[in-house]
Amino acid sequence: MDFDKLITQNPLFIDAFREINNIGSGNAASAVASMIGQKVDITVPSVIVEKIPNVIEKIGAPDEVAFGVQLTYEGELDGVILLVFKEDTVKKLAKLLMGMEVEEIDDMTISMIQEIGNIVSASFLNAIATFFSVQILPSPPSAAYDMLQALLNLALASIAAETDYALVVKTEFVIGDDETNKAEGWIVNVPSPDSFIKLLKLMGLLGDEDVE
């Protein structure tokens, strides 16, 4: 059975994968909460299984402008993580973390966002690595401010040689409990097809004989 069939025909596998990501995002939320001293709420991760051209509409408007922090991970599991922050979220985070009002997004703000991205994704991946006792090595993060579709391109490019379908996990997080000072963003995880199959094996849901 190949990746496209595994993700489109087995709701149980998708549920299991949602749980794994829940472990990651729970840990990421507490890391950010302790860094900024604010409450961080996360949603239950939504798992998107779509043909590659249709992924974007499940995430947001393709021409919506946002900040993206992207990193790749390698090791026993590999894939791409993209964190998406809306512009007003970045300004609120700058106020929370650096104690200043940001009018224009400058280099300092971008390096702050990159650092938050680093902490969020490292703690996300660490929780998963620890849970399965595997090694995962994240690359340094890098940030961009652009259209959502453009931010998502590389993550989709990383899997598209092997499959027409993407498996993408989106978790929303909300920082702070003050309605007027709420900062929102998303964690988007795009595992490689091989990693997804490996995770199913690690969970005992698939045997070696089930995959080519």
Partner: protein
């Protein structure tokens, strides 16, 4: 420029290719490392666009989205154009995209934008299609637009607004 009427816009998603006749707008939104290839026959007013994600299909599996790859997507779009009645020697070809969105990372997949542009140019050359305009590279996402009624190509960026190419 003409006002863009929402009803006439065809969104060309990743890996997709579309051809329109006489009227309508083809639009590939937010090309990052992706490359959009637009073709236009000014006599028949036939326009086509493909949204390419990767340079090369050789490492990949069989796909029903040939437009994902430069080496399959460009010939596929040319076939669609010819089938619709366009003549190869009349085609105006322009490309956009191929940015390097995320600068500092070391990973090889990060260079995919320039590899996509190189692959598209190579395939166009092999097909004997001259390139009439481009907006490629840089670190900005680009929306690529072809107005089929007029044959005008536009590129839209977050910082630079909309310009004709």
């Amino acid at each position: 420029m003409r006002m863009l009427n929402n009803k006439n816009i065809v969104h060309v998603g990743i890996g997709q290719s579309f051809v329109l006749k006489k009227t309508g707008i083809l639009m590939a939104i937010g090309l990052g490392s992706c490359v959009g290839v637009g073709m236009y026959d000014p006599v028949e007013k036939i326009g086509g666009m493909v949204h390419i994600l990767l340079p090369d299909s050789k490492v990949g599996k069989p796909t029903d989205l040939p437009g994902k790859f430069a080496d399959k997507g460009v010939p596929h779009l040319l076939d669609m154009m010819l089938e619709a009645g366009a003549k190869k020697e009349r085609l105006i070809v322009k490309i956009a995209g191929g940015a390097s969105m995320f600068k500092t990372s070391q990973s090889p997949i990060m260079d995919i934008g320039s590899r996509n542009v190189a692959a598209v140019k190579k395939v166009l050359k092999e097909l004997g299609l001259p390139l009439h305009g481009e907006a490629v590279g840089g670190n900005e996402g680009k929306t690529f637009i072809l107005d089929v009624a007029t044959g005008k190509f536009y590129v839209r960026t977050v910082r630079g607004g909309q310009v004709e190419i």
